[in-house]
C-alpha cells in the first residue's frame, strides 16, 4: 500500500481509466525525460502539494499498475482523493512517517 502522495496514477500523471499499454508508453516517456533532465517532469501534483518525481517512483508506479490487485487499490485511492495541488502549500508538509521511528513502534508495526 502506498501513501496518497505516492499513488501510481499521480506519479504517472494519468487518469484511472488509462489503458495498460498507454500506462507503459507514458512511463517509458517519463523515464526518458527524467534521464535527460527535462524540468517539466521533475515533479508531480498531489493533494498534499507537489512531490519530486524520480525514476524509481515511475518504475515502482508502473510495476504496481501491472498487478491487477494493486491497480484496483490505486484506483480506489485515486477516485476518492481530493484534487491535486499544483503549487506548494504555505505550510511545509509533515515530514514522512519514517522520521518518527517511535511512533511506528508504539503502534506495533515494523519500526
Amino acid at each position: 500500500m502506498t501513501t496518497l502522495a505516492e499513488n501510481p496514477f499521480l506519479v504517472l500523471g494519468l487518469s484511472v481509466d488509462t489503458k495498460r499499454i498507454e500506462i507503459e508508453r507514458e512511463a517509458q516517456k517519463l523515464l526518458g525525460m527524467l534521464e535527460l533532465g527535462f524540468a517539466a517532469v521533475k515533479s508531480y501534483a498531489t493533494p498534499l502539494g507537489p512531490r519530486e518525481r524520480t525514476a524509481e517512483a515511475v518504475r515502482a508506479a508502473v510495476a504496481a499498475l501491472r498487478d491487477p490487485y494493486q491497480r484496483l487499490v490505486a484506483e480506489v485511492w485515486a477516485r476518492h482523493a481530493p484534487a491535486p495541488i499544483e503549487t506548494a502549500p504555505q505550510v511545509a508538509p509533515a515530514p514522512p512517517a519514517e522520521t518518527h521511528p517511535g511512533a511506528r513502534r508504539t503502534f506495533g508495526w515494523r519500526p
Partner: protein
Amino acid sequence: MAESPLYVGIDLGTTNSAAAVFDGEHVSVVRNSLGASVTPSVVRVDKQGRITVGTRARRFIEQDPANTAAEFKRLMGTGRAIDFPAAGKQLKPEQLSAEVLKALRQDIQDQLGVAVERAVISVPALFELPQSAATSEAARLAGFARVELLQEPIASALAAGWRADDDGGGTWLVFDLGGGTFDASLLETRDGLLRVVGHDGDNFLGGRDFDWVITEHLASQLAVVPSRNNPDHTSALRALRLAAEDAKIELSRGDRAQVTLAQPLVVDGQDVEVDLELTRATIERLCTPLVDRALEVCLRLMQGNGLVPGKLAKVVLVGGPTVMPIVRQRVAAKLEATIALGHDPMTLVAQGAALYAATASLDGRAASQTPMTGRQVWLQYPAVSSDLTPHVVGKFIGEGAPAKIKLVRNDGAWSSPEAPIAADGTFIMSVTLLARRACTFELVATAQDGERVAVSPPALTIVQGLTIGDPPLSRTLGVALANGHVQVYLERGAPLPARRTFTHHTVETVARGSKESVLRIPIVQGEMDQAHLCRLVGTLDIGGDGVRDTVPTGSAVEVTIELDRGGRLSARALVPAIDQVFEHVAHLLVPDASPESLDSAIGDLRRQLMDLRTDAFRNGLTQMIEKLDHLEARLSEAERDIDAAHGGDADAAQRARRALLDVDGTMADAHLARKWPELESEARSLAIGATSTVGLHGSDAERVLLQEVLAAMERARGEKDAAELERQMRLARRLSSAAFNRTAEAWEWYFDDAASEVSRTTDLPRAQKLVAEGKKAVDKGDTESLRKIVKELWALLPEDSEARKRGFESGVR
C-alpha cells in the same frame, strides 16, 4: 554484423553452460569449437598449470578427479578454494566459473568475430546476494566490462514467450528442472507484456538427484556396496555415477542399457566388476517419486493462483532432465496440459538471457566503434518495445541545436512529421514499429535555414516484441534495528533497480580514534518482522578509527540501500553531524558449512520440530501436522547430505545448509501459527480499534481501503494463514495510525506515554528538561514543538541488550 546490434546471453549452469546471441530479429545459439550447443561446466588444471574447459575437461573427471572440478557453481560465494594438486594451484569457484565464461566468450568471438564486453548472465531465482556478487566477479575475471544478472525462470519464460506466435493469453507454466534446482513459474502474456504471475521451486531437486538414485540402485547390486558417507568410496561412486548418467541418457531413447565399466571399481581394497543391465522401466520406477515432487510444487503454485489441472494454456519444459520421457509423460498427465514443442530445453535460458540483453539495452560490442561526427544527441528509447508506437526522447548537447528533426524508418514506408526542437535542445517524438521486427530509424535534423545537419548517432534501432517488466526483488530487504525488529527498505516484488533512504538514530556513541568503538548497521533479507529470523546479507560499519569526530548517541544516520537490476547490493550511511559518508559494505560470504555445525543445527531443528508436533497433536491441527511431516522428510534428506558432507562432499554440505535454512524459515511460520489463538484475538481487537479510529478521523479513501483490509483479514482468518493475517494487520495499523496522527490529541498521547518512561532514559536531566518543555507545549497547544520533543524523548529511551542481540548487534534505531 557491424550495423545490427549484438545482444549476448549466457546460461552459466551447474552442469552445462550455453551462450546465445540476438541481433534484434533472430536468436541463435553459439556453438563451441566442437560444434556443440552446450559446454559442460567442468574445468581441469594439468600439472603444467594449463587450463582445459568443457567436454575435453569432462573426459578427465573419472581419470583425474583430483585435478578436474565440476559443479562448482554450487560453491559460488562460499570463498572456498578448490585444490588442483598437480599444478599446486588453488582456484576459487568464481575463478573456475570465469574460465567457463572465457571459453564461451571465445566461442562467440570465433563464430561472430566480435570480442563481446557486455552480456546478461542467468542465475537461479533464489541465489543469495553473495552468490550473485561472485557471479559478477566471475564475469569481470572473464573480461566482461559490464554484465547484468537475470533470474533463470524469467529468462526461460522470455524465450518461450518470444517464440509464441499467438498472443492468445492464458496462463502457462515453465517447468525448469536443472542440474541441481527446480523452478516452476506461472506466466501470462497480455498486450505483448510478459508478467510473472507466480513462482515456486525446490532448491534441492535436480538432475543430479536422478543420477544419484540410479547410482545408488546400481551400487546396491554390486558385490561390495560403496557408501556415500565413506570418503574412501568417493572415487568408485564417481565412476558409477558417470556410467549412470550415460545410461540415463541412453534410456531416453532405448528400452535397455548395459552399464559396463572398463576397469573394475576398487571398494574396500577389493576389485568389483561392473556389468549390469538397466531398463527404462527401472529408471522410471526410481525417478517417479522425484518427478512427483516437482509436480507437487507445480500443483501448489497453481492452487495458490486459483488454477486447477487442465486450465493451463501450455507447459514449457526447460533443463536437461526434462528430456527424459518419464518427465514429459507425467507432467502432461498430472497437469493435464499440452507440452509446448519447438523449444530446446538445454539452451532456452541462454536464449532468454540474450533477448533480455536487448530489453536492457546491453549491446555486447565495445561501447564506441565509429568516431563521433556531427551534432551529438542523447537519446532515450526502449531497445525492445511491446508497444507499436513508443516515444523517442532526445536532447542535443551544447549550444545552437538544429531547429527541426524527423525520424525516417529504414524500410522507407514511414516517417514522422517534422518536430521542432526546444530552445534547450530537447524533443519528444513517437515512432511506428513493425510487429516482431527490428526497425532502424534515421535521424534527419535540419537547421533554421532548412539545411541538413549531421547528427551523431545518426540512427536508432527499436525491436518490437515481447517485453518483461523490471525484474522483481525476490526477498524483502531491510536494516536490522537495535530493538530486534526490521526496518523494511524494499519489499519483495519491488521493481529493480531500486533505492531507498531512511533516517535512523544511533543508540551508542562512536568515539573518535577508538578501534573498539564500532557502530554496526546490519542489512538483512527475509519476510519476517524479527531480525533474527531474517538472513544477514551485509553490514555497514562506522568505526571509531574512521570517523572525523565523535558521533554521540542519538545522532541521525541517513542510510541508503540500493540494488541494481541484477540484485547487487550497495549501501551507504551519511552522518550529517560530522558530514561524513560511509560506503564500505562488508559482503558476507555464504557461511561455511562444516559437518559439525550442520550436525548441531539439525539436532536443534529436530528438537523444535518435536515441540511443534506435540503441540499440533494436542490442539488437533491437522494441516499443521501435514506441514510438519513434510519438514520431517526434508530433514531426513538433509541428514543424508550431512552424511555425505562427513565423507568430504562440500557440495552436499552447502545443499544441507540451504535445506536447513529453508526448514528454519518454514518452522518460523509454524511458530507463528502456534500463536494462532493470540493472533486471532489481537486481530479482532485491531479490527474494532481501527474501524473506530478510521471512522472518526480517516478520509473517505482510508475508510474504503480499511474495508478491503478488514475483508482480507477475514479471509486470512478463515484460511488460518498466519503470515497473511500479520501482513494485513500491519496494513490496518498503518491506516489506523495515519488517521490517528492527524488528530491534535495524538501527540499529547505520545507525549504522556514517553514522559511516563522518563526514568529509563539514557540522559535523565535532558529528558526531564524535555518533559517540562513538553508540558508547556501541551498547554499552549503547540503540536509542532510537541512533535519534536516527543521525537527527542524517544531517542533517549534505551534498547534492551537481548533485543539488540536478536538485531545482529545493530547500532541504530
